[in-house]
């Protein structure tokens, strides 16, 4: 009988230890997600800021590529209109909207960069080359930021969905929700076609 009570006591102690050692995990991981999300937004904003300059440079050399240029401008203004807030991260619709807008800007930009191949004068322009390298660098930063975000969300969601995190969350953080992460939509996985 005595050993039974000891066993119960030990189990209670175990529950207590599990909660005590994991009590900070969810807020900590949540902060990580927020930080990496700001980085994603930051880099997307940086890309959007590059676009007016890029468009005006291309326009000077390739003025009759109007439709491509317009597409980029339009996609950029769509991105600018998005209402970004933090609860978007746990809202699938808003998140998808954001992702869609950004990926349509990405594809408009990559079409622009393909069109540009036809204009050797433009391609020799130093200003354009600099802009191109900046755009390249920004795209690269975006992909790094996205990957970091995916990683932090994975940690957060794993904590929420596995034990002992699930158990702790149910008791202490009932408002914590699974967060959305990036998935490559089918049109992004296609390789852009190059026509000769």
């Amino acid at each position: 009988m005595k050993s039974f009570f000891i066993a119960i006591g030990v189990i209670l102690l175990a529950i207590f230890i599990i909660i005590a050692t994991n009590i900070n995990n969810i807020p900590r991981l949540d902060e990580n997600v927020k930080a990496s999300w700001s980085q994603v937004q930051n880099q997307y904003k940086r890309r959007a800021d590059l676009i007016p300059n890029l468009v005006s440079t291309v326009k000077a050399y390739a003025s009759h590529e109007k439709s491509t240029l317009q597409e980029v401008t339009k996609a950029r203004s769509n991105v600018g209109k998005l209402n970004i807030s933090e609860d978007m991260l746990s809202n699938p619709q808003l998140f998808e909207q954001f992702q869609k807008a950004q990926s349509s800007l990405s594809s408009a930009l990559s079409r622009l960069m393909l069109v540009v191949e036809k204009y050797p004068n433009l391609k020799a322009n130093k200003n354009f080359l600099a802009l191109q390298s900046q755009l390249e660098g920004t795209e690269n930063r975006i992909s790094v930021a996205r990957r970091d975000y995916i990683q932090t969300v994975k940690e957060y969601n794993t904590e929420l969905r596995t034990y002992p995190g699930k158990f702790v969350a149910a008791i202490l953080y009932p408002e914590a929700k699974i967060k959305q992460t990036f998935i490559a939509p089918p049109n992004e996985q296609e390789v852009p076609k190059v026509e000769f």
Partner: protein, 287 residues
């Protein structure tokens, strides 16, 4: 009930035991890691001297890595991952730069740490690659290209930081500070130094679990209690440590805290990253 309890322990152990996968990056053997073998010993020495002098003046860490190939990685992907893995740059400044050359793919990249993105911008990195390094590489003059490139990098980042007068100390806020070193000095150090991370984590957990178990045994003098306490403490500590090492995993894996404490008599030539981070800044090119 007891059976359920054992299952629970087993399950939580399995959940946490999936090891942290890490790509196989080369080890940081010095400021110039010439895995493609395109530089001679004296050339490596020259470059190292230049880079070392620069770090002494400004605390910026520049490292040159040459590779045969990239194992199927994109160079931009590989660059930031290896630079993060090595933690180039100081922790509070993120002022590391990696010049990466992959010989077989004929690709190169300048990877710039967060703290230097403002001075060594994508545009400048691009220009260094295009107009300084590439012409030399095309001629097959790898040393010339690398050395001129390194000089150009140094020139562009020279003014950004100065070495702070107080010596850099990196406090590890992770669990290392939680451990009573004086209590188990030798064993902890032994585990800490010689074993890979995951084994170290398990080692620590078991060790402290065992001690807690002994403690419980002394109080209750019951073998079952010893066993249960041992299991619980080991597993919870393991989970806790693993989480702690997640956020700080890098400072742990590269052992930077160790070489900076220098109590192990590491010679002055040893070199390790200072804890800087990277976010994909820089530029790539091919020749």
């Amino acid at each position: 009930m007891k059976k359920f309890f054992y299952y629970f322990i087993l399950a939580s152990f399995i959940f946490t035991a999936n090891l942290l996968a890490q790509a196989n990056f080369p080890s940081l053997t010095g400021r110039v890691v010439d895995n493609a073998k395109i530089l001679t010993t004296s050339q490596i020495k020259n470059l190292t001297t230049i880079l070392k002098k620069h770090e002494e003046q400004t605390s910026n860490q520049i490292v040159i890595l040459t590779l045969k190939n990239l194992d199927g990685y994109e160079i931009a992907d590989y660059g930031y991952q290896v630079a993060r893995y090595w933690e180039l740059g100081q922790k509070d400044k993120n002022n590391g730069v990696l010049l990466l050359v992959s010989l077989d793919d004929r690709k190169l990249r300048i990877e710039v740490g967060y703290g230097l993105e403002g001075v060594l911008t994508d545009k400048i990195s691009h220009e260094i690659i295009e107009y300084t390094i590439k012409p030399e590489f095309k001629k097959g003059e790898y040393y010339q290209g690398i050395s001129k490139g390194a000089t150009a990098i140094i020139k562009s980042i020279k003014g950004e930081y100065t070495k702070s007068s107080s010596p850099q100390t990196y406090k590890d806020e992770s669990f290392i500070s939680l451990l009573p070193f004086e209590f188990l000095g030798f064993i902890t150090l032994f585990i800490f130094v010689f074993l890979p991370r995951i084994i170290r984590l398990i080692g620590f957990s078991l060790l402290f679990g065992f001690l807690s178990g002994i403690f419980a045994l002394l109080i209750t003098s019951s073998g079952i209690v010893f066993f249960i306490v041992f299991l619980i403490v080991s597993i919870t500590l393991f989970i806790k440590f693993k989480n702690a090492s997640f956020t700080n995993s890098s400072s742990y894996s590269s052992g930077s805290s160790f070489s900076s404490s220098s109590s192990f008599g590491s010679s002055s030539s040893s070199f390790s990253g200072g804890g800087g981070s990277f976010g994909g800044g820089g530029a790539s090119g091919s020749w």
